[in-house]
Amino acid sequence: MPKRTDIKSILVIGSGPIIIGQAAEFDYAGTQACLSLREEGYRVILVNSNPATIMTDKEIADVVYIEPLTPDFIARIIRKEQPDALLPTLGGQVGLNMAVELDRLGVLEENNVELLGTKLDSIKQAEDRDLFRNLMNDMNIPVPESDIITTLEGAYRFKEQVGYPFIVRPAYTMGGTGGGICYNDDDLKEIVTNGLKYSPVNQCLLEKSIAGYKEIEYEVMRDSNDTAIVVCNMENIDPVGIHTGDSNVVAPTQTLTLKETNMLRDVSLSVVRALGIEGGCNVQLALDPHSFNYYIIEVNPRVSRSSALASKATGFPIAKLAAKIAVGMNLDEMKNPVTGTSYASFEPSIDYVVTKVARFPFDKFEKGERKLGTQMKATGEVMAIGRTFEESILKAIRSLEYGVHHLGLPNGDDFTLEQIEKKIKEQSDERLFYIGEALRRGISVDEIHTWTEIDYFFINKFKHIIDIEHELKENVDSIDHLKWAKTYGFSDRVIGHRWGKDTDEIYQMRKDHGIFPVYKMVDTCAAEFSSDTPYFYGTYEKENEAVASDREKILVLGSGPIRIGQGVEFDYATVHAVFAIQEAGYEAIVVNNNPETVSTDFTISDKLYFEPLTEEDVMNIIENEKPMGVVVQFGGQTAINLAEKLERHGVKILGTTLDDLDRAEDRKRFEALLREIDVPQPLGKTATNAAEAVENAEAIGYPVLVRPSYVLGGRAMEIVHSKAELENYMTQAVKASPEHPVLIDRYLMGKEIEIDAICDGENVIIPGIMEHIERAGVHSGDSMAVYPPITLTESEIETLVAYTEKLALGLNTVGLINIQYVLSDGEVYVLEVNPRSSRTVPFLSKITDIPMARLAMKGILGQKFTDLDYELGLQKVQDGHYVKAPVFSFNKLKNVDITLGPEMKSTGEVMGKDSSLNKALYKALVASGLEVKDNGTALFTVADKDKKEATELAQRLSKIGYRIMATSGTADVLSEAGISVVKVEKIDAVENSLLDMINNGKVQIVINTMTKGKTVERDGFRIRRESVYNGIPCLTSLDTARTLIEVIESMTFSMDRM
């Protein structure tokens, strides 16, 4: 059918902030969908709360709203914009849940809004466990023995019938939130209780565990004419039991015969047909490795993380076509946008092996529980493409930027075999590397299979990697062996390691013998049709298809996997840099390895290399393309870290020079600069060992802020109050050395200010100034930031602008620069300068309408800002108030302390904007997932140093009608101040303990600052975790608490005695 003409405008709901289980893939899908709908002439209205996305750019939709994704706010937009239709299946689970809610509330009917794509009934049938199970039973498709329960007693009854182990899956949650596997009664109580809490409908599916089965996924599409195709099938290397988002996944399936493939294909297609899916759908299946028995696990009736992966794995743009299907078009009448010659109904065929490996946040959360299960824990993922499985997975591993470079751990020799066995058996996030270690020590393939139930095919492949290592060792300097190892994905670094040579020597050997990769095209059809997709991967074979053009070209390095500290913001900047390069008439070439992102959509750049971001892999591309230069400042620390290595090979780094980057990072050189330009900074020193650290800290005076040099996202940064703490830090947290000194700064308790500026080497543009709500000491990524600043005086602003200009020019910045200041006792000090793109670039760009990354790129390409239509210096303040709030994923990560500090912990961010600050704050808080209630009970447990401040806050809360609860110490202080306070018992009390209060839903806000001291720390930790499990806002910074209280005050009435 041709597209529908009875609808003109379509509302698209985005997925909101990046959280575990819902990452950048929805920016990719949403962007594609919006562009796809506009291509057909529809007016697209977009709502998303996440400013750090390409999809919220004004070029992507006709109308963009950055508003909280709640039924209330979306309903307002619907009433105002009166869209004809709503497309809910592209914004992840959030978008889908919103559509269901809006329908239930009657908003859609009231405004005559039609739901496009998969019908709501189908969505319900796919998502509601009961309805889905009934459908499967009707179709004679096996589902694991299961029951839907709404109470703990129901779970006990299920256990009596089916026995352990069984899986708990809460209804209507994403990424398996609150789920898990129960092996005993303790597990049952804990997991089921949580699961019921997390499910918005208080419903859980209990399911007989089929752990050990192969987990297979089918990404399928169907149109309204009932044409259904398989875009991609994938096999999880990990058997059923580990969430597919955390599993290592390979596409296509490797261990299935045609008979099994056809069987599962048939099931998948018949299910999407029965459900009436119109668009994309993900089907997860479990297959017995010893028979044809299979089960259907679940169906996601929407575009998902897996569909983004399938799109990148095959080149087939699922979201783009799903949007077109939603407006009535059919697969057999749409051209495949990749080949341009074949039709979209042609199922993709690939001629390479794709591997996805998840990226976990445990480099940040060392105490987090690393055992994997049904609840997703990864923040991001990498994908790699190769012509052998070994090549594919080794490329994926070295893309992780996780301190691993190969199938093993750098410190693998440190572990005993028992430790290794334990790590493998408990399915930790590092299992793959431990398997490598085990095989290296001669553990048999059979043994590994017994430990893991991973299919022999994969374990044999791992073993093959180890065998090649041994053969390399026995054949040092053999060019034949070098070539052979390269075809199996070995990096120069690893080969060098086996041969006692450094990476450069191996690179030279390759150069001498002409051993370079060729680049193959990803074309959806295994070369059956000629196509000119500019999407390539490297492999060691014969024919190179990525022939360099004769245009002048610039290589842009992407930012790799999404992780804490390096989120979608950097992809945003990368994409904008690409646009600017193209506008200036150059060829823009992107290198990146993250399948979730917009930058790895091959339509964005002139050429996309889907390759690891390592020195070797990037140099190989440079050898092939010979670009005039490389841009590193948009790709976060990933790209910056490569700059020096590339320059060593004679590659030109465009923009701010490496030397100037170093001047900003190197303590001594930075101090020299500050003296020269007369900008003050908190007193600070460096130390290369513990004794020196103590000596320096004493000279500065406690508290001090300590951190290793060259880090990302405040890793291992701490505020230290005493000598003992410092000694502990120096021995436990960091390894100081002359090459990697530890920085020790005076900790100034003050207001933190953040500025992003753009410089062309001579002129500086400052789009705006942001003030942080949380005082210095909380990582800027975890702080709420406000634009325009709230409390700054004219003269402070003048100072900030003057310093910013001095720093930008002093560092010879060409491009972006991010500066953090602290305002203490009326003095402005510079805390940190990063001459590169930052987390706040998209936020500020959206507010000010200044395309900062593009402008920066123009500057890098030699344009002077004086020739452009922008005023220099600080830009005019925009109307309204804008708040950026962090979003955390603590409910997915067990044992992680949520206390805010110098180490970044948030996974994403939202923006709230409105005419008054309080309204903007309210929106930001709501958008971040916090329920702002105008009455209820607030529980205070604060450290002694905070009691005075907390008293003021409690007083204010009490005044507006909140009940105050506190533990004894805090309660006494509050009572003395005349506040009526309910005293609750300590954690270990038998009844009426504060944990009971939290668990029984008697508390609506927890304010907790207990972090220091042994028992207190432990108790504080438990309080915070229990709050997280119960979905109760737990504020660990009194600044955040104060802001929340101000917002509540502004929306409620005060109860004053006469």
Partner: protein, 361 residues
């Protein structure tokens, strides 16, 4: 690790160096490709590939090895296979032989370590060529031999059964004219209750009709129907008596018999992902195909045949039926009855028609 060398030498002089596996014999044949990612056992044992050297674009071949159930023939006639990597350690619960062992047992040479994608691109752009798999690096001699060998192959004769046999069933009686049939077709008919009599490709019409079949199927097979004029001559006579169904080469034979022509496709259809439109039902099915020739659309206008199926990509003819006689045929593999394929209804329709015409059921 580094195994013995083997060479794939093309008639245009291109030489690919790779590693030996499978049988040892030097073999020549037409070099073709297939883009399927699964089903290598089925493809390697498909008689439609008789005397051809098949390049698999998917790099990992033989991951699930060979089992005793999925072969399409007992006597594989494929000339050789070209792969990126041949799995040494297959893994599947039914595996009982590795790819290497199977090919060695049937003396079919394989070559691994090849940039198979470059071969697909070469064939795509320049058409199929003759090639030879050789263990000798004396390229000139190899090409000389290739050029001097006989071009004409009688593939159907090589792959068709030499004497009739019956695969029993209780329902309709089907005579299957074997041009290089797939075992899965026989299995599928049996599972639908049909009794299948498989007869050699040159069985006289009189003999076929004497078996009093309820229907006749002309199977798929290698080469061109012009190589088998006797069948073309006989189809009409048979069709006037009983329902006839054609697959692949059999489909082309039917078209020729009723006056249509066969033409070369600009790009052959060789994969398992090809969308076909059922014109009458207005639906799309994803099909598995292996053919470089198709029935000419224009040539059908003068005949009593109508197009029932067409390829979505290039509009080529994928299925036909006769305006008055009970004849239908498709260019692609119709799949199993009640099977997983989108096209499983086709055989079902044929069986229903047989039942109806013969008052079975």
């Amino acid at each position: 690790m580094l195994k013995d060398k083997r060479y794939l030498v093309l008639e245009d002089g291109t030489v690919y160096e790779g590693y030996q596996f499978g049988g040892k014999a030097d073999r020549a044949g037409e070099l073709v490709f297939n883009t399927s990612m699964f089903g290598f056992q089925e493809m390697i044992t498909d008689s439609a590939y008789a005397n051809q050297i098949v390049t698999f674009s998917y790099p990992l071949v033989g991951n699930t090895g060979f089992n005793s159930e999925d072969s399409e023939t007992m006597k594989p006639t494929i000339a050789g296979i070209v792969v990126r990597e041949a799995a040494l350690l297959p893994s599947n619960f039914r595996t009982n032989e590795t790819l290497h062992d199977y090919l060695e047992r049937h003396n079919i040479p394989g070559i691994s370590g090849i940039d198979t994608r470059s071969i697909v691109r070469k064939i795509r752009d320049g058409g199929t060529l003759r090639a030879v798999l050789s263990d000798s690096d004396d390229v000139d001699a190899v090409i000389e031999t290739l050029k001097s060998t006989d071009e004409t192959v009688h593939s159907v004769r090589d792959v068709s059964t030499s004497s009739p046999y019956i695969s029993t069933g209780v329902g309709s009686r089907v005579v299957l004219i074997d041009l290089g049939k797939q075992e899965s077709l026989v299995r599928s008919l049996n599972s639908a209750g049909c009794e299948v009599t498989v007869v050699p490709h040159d069985t006289p019409t009189y003999d076929i009709l004497r078996m009093k079949p309820d229907g006749v199927i002309i199977s798929s097979g290698p080469g061109s129907p012009e190589d088998i004029p006797s069948i073309v001559d006989n189809v009409r006579t048979i069709a006037e008596q009983v329902p006839v169904f054609g697959v692949g080469l059999g489909h082309q034979a039917i078209a020729l018999a009723f006056g249509a022509k066969i033409e070369a496709l600009p790009f052959g259809h060789r994969g398992s992902n090809i969308p076909v439109r059922n014109i009458e039902r207005k639906t799309v099915e994803i099909t598995s195909q292996n053919h470089g020739f198709a029935v000419s659309r224009e040539s059908l206008e003068q005949t009593d045949l109508v197009i029932t199926h067409e390829a979505i990509n290039d509009d080529s003819v994928e299925g036909i039926r006769h305006k008055s006689l009970p004849i239908m045929s498709v260019q692609y593999y119709p799949g199993a009855i009640d099977g997983p394929d989108d096209s499983s209804y086709i055989l079902e329709e044929f069986i229903n028609r047989m039942n109806k015409e013969n008052n079975h059921a």
